[in-house]
């Protein structure tokens, strides 16, 4: 339902090529479309070569952190003296982001193939795909595909009939944004509360049940078969800008936008063109006010700052924000930005796991102060108080949920201070109605 829009000529469709093509969901349909060739090729080379190829591709983690995937794999011990694990992070919950769900709904075998290649490379026999509990349809589709892949011998005691044992299973989450943080995700698989763990040790040293573990995002793993088939150098060539940002990326566009949806472009694509060309621009009569290009946890930028921004890791930083997960939330001039910031603060306060004081108290107080401002009971000092509170929430906790809340609020106050001041003065929104 709702998908897909036809590909735009300026998209580079690699992962999204078969979105909307129901036949691609089944094993036979997937084989007909060239499926599992990447896994065949990987099994025909050494695992060191697979890791080298992924390193060459330059692909960086698509979940939001942007850590080079090949390097992450190379941190796993070379000698295996007990189980290694691969976790696929399918706990997609960053507001503004809805790409992993589409990958799982339309091309489940692409993800299974990526999982199997990664499992081979890091010597993992067991793969856990951690899917958020709300994704009922994606879970059902993935489970069917896993069962099919096992029946066809792709998975099981001999991967593709000649490789090592590789088993894939789904671990269903139960409603906790924080479980998208990789160490919280591991705790959740172990049957614990989803509290992030202190690092070091890093997962490659001591992850699931204390064993070497790699955690990769759905989009990252789904790109791996293409890297195996066409080569790391080819993938690295897919960039319009920085050699540090390579390949294609799915951008989810939502909020105040004419044609919301997922658009796949090569790294370095102009943000402005994504919003105004591919996604159809603003609704009639509206002007762009603000955008968070990488999900709700990255700083707001203004329409002016968005003007020259390039969609890659470096380009977004240069524009004063981050690429994050690639979920662009668009706010037009009718949006009450103060209310939306308070809504995001409510999100962080709700999703804080509460183990670190700065986060548990900081997110809750940020919300209270913002709600006071919304009720017209704010003081001018409150804006300084929010910024000060944000500083106390930054760089002091086990994970970055607290930092995210702080940076979002701070960037909103910096960029849209008159909106906040209007509320403090009159208790009303200054937004264009």
């Amino acid at each position: 339902m709702g998908y897909p829009h036809p590909s735009h000529p300026r998209e580079t469709v690699l992962l999204s090529r078969y979105f909307g093509d129901a036949e691609a969901r089944g094993y036979d349909g997937w084989i007909k479309r060239g499926g599992y060739q990447g896994l065949e090729k990987a099994l025909g080379t050494s695992r060191e070569q697979v890791i080298e190829e992924v390193k060459t591709s330059g692909i960086r983690g698509r979940g939001g952190a942007g850590f080079p995937a090949g390097m992450k794999w190379s941190f796993m011990p070379k000698e295996r003296n007990g189980p290694h694990y691969l976790c696929c992070n399918a706990d997609e919950g960053e507001p503004g982001t809805f790409k992993d769900r589409e990958i799982m709904r339309w091309t489940p075998h692409a993800l299974i193939e990526g999982c199997a290649i990664a499992a081979y490379a890091i010597q993992a026999e067991q793969v856990y795909i951690y899917i958020r509990g709300e994704f009922t349809e994606a879970i059902a589709i993935m489970q069917r595909a896993i069962d099919e892949a096992r029946a066809k011998g792709v998975l099981g005691p001999n991967c593709m009939g000649r490789g090592p044992r590789i088993e894939v299973m789904i671990h269903r989450g139960a409603g906790a944004y924080i479980c998208g943080e990789e160490t919280a995700l591991m705790n959740s698989i172990e049957g614990r509360r989803g509290n992030p763990r202190i690092r070091p040790p890093f997962p490659a040293q001591a992850g699931l049940w204390g064993r070497p573990t790699t955690i990769n995002n759905v989009e990252t793993l789904s790109a791996v078969p293409h890297i195996m088939v066409k080569g790391g150098a080819w993938y690295k060539g897919l960039s319009l800008s920085s050699p540090k940002s390579t390949g294609t990326k799915l951008f989810s566009v939502c909020g105040s936008i004419a044609k919301p949806g997922n658009y796949e472009v090569t790294m370095g694509f102009p943000l402005k063109d994504l919003l105004f060309d591919l996604a159809g621009g603003m609704k009639p009569g509206r002007r762009l006010k603000a955008v968070q290009p990488g999900g709700c946890s990255v700083p707001f930028i203004t329409a002016q700052e968005a003007e020259g921004a390039l969609l890659d890791y470096e380009g977004c930083v240069a524009a004063g924000t981050q690429l994050g997960s690639g979920g662009a939330i668009v706010y037009d001039d009718s949006v009450d930005i103060v209310y939306q910031v308070s809504r995001l603060a409510r999100f962080y306060a709700h999703e804080s796991c509460a183990q670190c004081t700065q986060c548990r108290e900081g997110t809750a107080w940020t919300l209270r102060i913002l709600q006071r401002i919304l009720r017209g009971e704010g003081r001018m000092d409150d804006l300084g108080l929010l910024l000060d509170l944000g500083e106390q929430m930054t760089g002091k906790t086990i994970c970055v949920l607290s930092d995210s809340c702080a940076v979002v609020v701070a960037s909103a106050i910096q960029k849209f201070r008159p909106d906040f001041e209007a509320y403090v003065r009159s208790g009303r929104s200054g937004a264009a109605g």
């Binding site: 997609e92 509990g133 269903r172 139960a174 409603g175 959740s188 172990e190 919301p260 809504r343």
Partner: protein
């Protein structure tokens, strides 16, 4: 909370079925085979409790703790961490509406209002007097481009608007 026996009273009289007996036991055993220890089966086990009882009932928590060799406090601690495990009995249809910013910008609050009105639920989180509906707000459902997504029981429904609410509910009456 005490061990099984007292639990039934906590749920208002009607005895709840055992979750991990018969077919449930085989299902749990198959899950246990896939993990290196029993604790790891806790999330799947709690899902089974909820499927059977409609919520994570005290009886279900006791049975889970006994079956997986965990303490009651531990199981309760995990069950209360995750939003989707229901801490109270709910209406026959459980409706969760995303109202996080991307959906809020697209009018999610109006969808909530329409749902409350059409179901007769007084407020968010409450069950309608006829016991048929519970409507809750939820944080990001991960379908922001298809605002507003609504989860009705296990059905993930996209693009709900205030206007489409009556037709949507008709399917569950």
């Amino acid at each position: 909370m005490s061990h099984s026996g007292a639990g039934a009273q906590a749920s208002g009289g009607a005895a709840l079925p055992k979750v991990f007996e018969g077919q449930g036991r085989s299902e749990l055993d198959a899950i246990l085979e896939k993990y290196p220890n029993r604790q790891a089966a806790l999330l799947p086990a709690l899902w089974m409790v909820q499927r059977s009882h409609g919520w994570v009932s005290p009886e279900g928590i006791v049975e889970t703790a006994e079956t997986l060799d965990l303490t009651l406090a531990y199981v309760k601690g995990v069950a209360t961490f995750y939003t989707m495990y229901r801490q109270h009995p709910v209406g026959r249809n459980f409706v969760a509406v995303c109202t996080t910013s991307p959906c809020s910008v697209c009018g999610a609050e109006a969808v909530v209002e329409a749902l409350l009105k059409a179901t007769g639920c007084g407020r968010v989180g409450e069950t309608s007097p006829d016991g048929k509906w519970t409507v809750v707000e939820t944080e990001c459902l991960g379908a922001c481009g298809f605002a507003t997504p609504v989860l009705v029981n296990d059905d993930f429904i996209e693009g709900v608007t205030a206007e489409s609410v009556p037709a949507l509910l008709e399917r569950y009456r």
